[in-house]
């Protein structure tokens, strides 16, 4: 076997060992993160919590405030994203219904887009 090939193989073995160590033995630890960085399934569950509460009290202001925790997106975008994910992983019917109810309420509160004047 040519020497350069041995070197290449050793480099590949080293890279594999480095990835394994960095992923399995000492993976990156996230601390003090913000809710906007939550994984989509956790974000969806958070929106579901808001939806459960909203279903009970119909307090849209509080629901909007709670959804704003998930980032700069509008409340209807956040709830829409959660609803889409919940549908994609087949959330149970009652949970989907709660998310749809919240999404409808947030869409109703969303500011209308400015009318575009056409010539």
């Amino acid at each position: 076997m040519p020497r350069w090939m041995v070197g290449l193989l050793l480099a590949i073995v080293g890279a594999a060992a480095g990835i394994a160590y960095g992923r399995l033995v000492a993976p990156v630890q996230y601390v003090d993160t913000v809710p906007a960085s939550l994984r989509i399934d956790y974000r969806t569950d958070y929106v579901l919590m808001v939806a459960e509460r909203f279903h009970a009290d119909h307090d849209a202001e509080t629901a909007m405030q709670q959804l704003s925790l998930l980032g700069a997106q509008s409340a209807d975008a956040v709830s829409g994203e959660a609803l889409a994910f919940a549908r994609s992983v087949s959330y149970a019917g009652p949970d989907l219904a709660l998310l749809e109810e919240l999404n409808r309420a947030m869409q109703a509160l969303a500011p209308l887009p400015s009318p575009v004047r056409t010539p």
């Binding site: 050793l10 993976p27 399934d41 279903h55 959330y91 219904a97």
Partner: protein
């Protein structure tokens, strides 16, 4: 012969460095997002509040428990109790603090104390939601609350890896609200303790300390409300208050509890003929 060895070693080290750079910098493991356990403490409080608010709306204790586990608190009950106290101290609404405290209390008791009402007629009916809730309890009783779980199928958050079925249960459960009884009342003459310290410990019927129980202290000029569980290092069911000498207090465990009146800081004999203000220790138990 030595030179190839050096080159091979360098290749191995270079590969290792590239691998680590890839794993830690270019594509770290959680690039899809983080978990609730990594949230900053104030956001963890927000997340916990959302769990408690959802629980207050649904009464689904199992789901609340599963969600709390995502936060990775060593002791979720204590965390909830402490947050309830912080909320009160920060001037947040009592209702908000009460939601946190109630969840702590129900987790400790292992049973919900509120009526589960996840889905009502406002939601399109689902075939799995066929349970009708009949008034099978005495509506005239002020101390009874009903817990019921409509048949519901839901995915386990957040991984949605399976479904759970909650069978309909309907239980008339005595509310802890009016049933705690004073089991002991002792004067404490310990100069090492703060003068006038009123120590309250609340236990459930199995003698386990109960966090998140609403305590109301009243006196002729005011009232203060707080919860047990703020000092879990003493006991999950513990709460205290410093009484002013010469003032008579009344303590009520939960809003509907029977007040224990005429409580005041005792005068204790000290060394050298000097007296000092002692404290009181009260224990309440759910029968």
């Amino acid at each position: 012969m030595r030179r190839p060895l050096v080159v091979w070693l360098a290749a191995l080290i270079l590969g290792l460095a590239l691998g680590l750079t890839y794993a830690w910098v270019i594509a770290p493991g959680n690039s899809g997002g983080t978990a609730p356990s990594s949230l900053r403490p104030d956001f963890r409080d927000d997340y916990r509040s959302a769990i408690a608010a959802a629980y207050a709306a649904t009464g689904d204790l199992q789901r609340a428990k599963a969600r709390l586990e995502l936060l990775g608190d060593a002791d979720p009950v204590s965390a909830l109790g402490a947050q309830a106290q912080r909320a009160l101290a920060a001037g947040q609404s009592f209702e908000h603090a009460q939601e946190l405290a109630r969840l702590a209390s129900d987790l400790q008791a292992g049973r919900p104390s509120i009526f589960a009402s996840t889905v009502t007629a406002a939601i399109p009916p689902s075939p799995t939601l066929t349970a009708t809730l009949e008034p099978a309890f005495d509506l005239t009783s002020t101390v009874a609350v009903m817990t019921a779980s409509p048949q519901a199928v839901f995915t386990l958050p957040p991984a949605a890896t399976g479904t759970r079925v909650v069978s309909p249960t309907r239980t008339v459960m005595p509310s802890p609200a009016a049933q705690f009884q004073l089991t002991s009342r002792d004067e404490v003459c310990d100069p090492a303790l703060p003068a006038g310290l009123l120590q309250i410990t609340v236990f459930d019927k199995d003698n386990h300390p109960l966090p998140g129980v609403d305590i109301t202290i009243t006196w002729d000029q005011g009232e203060e409300r707080f919860f047990t569980g703020y000092q879990p290092e003493i006991s999950d069911g513990y709460a205290d208050y410093v009484m002013q000498p010469g003032t008579a207090y009344s303590v009520k465990v939960t809003r509907l509890g029977v007040p224990v009146s005429a409580l005041s800081a005792p005068t204790c004999p000290g060394t050298g003929g000097q007296s000092f203000t002692g404290g009181l220790k009260l224990s309440f138990k759910e029968p």
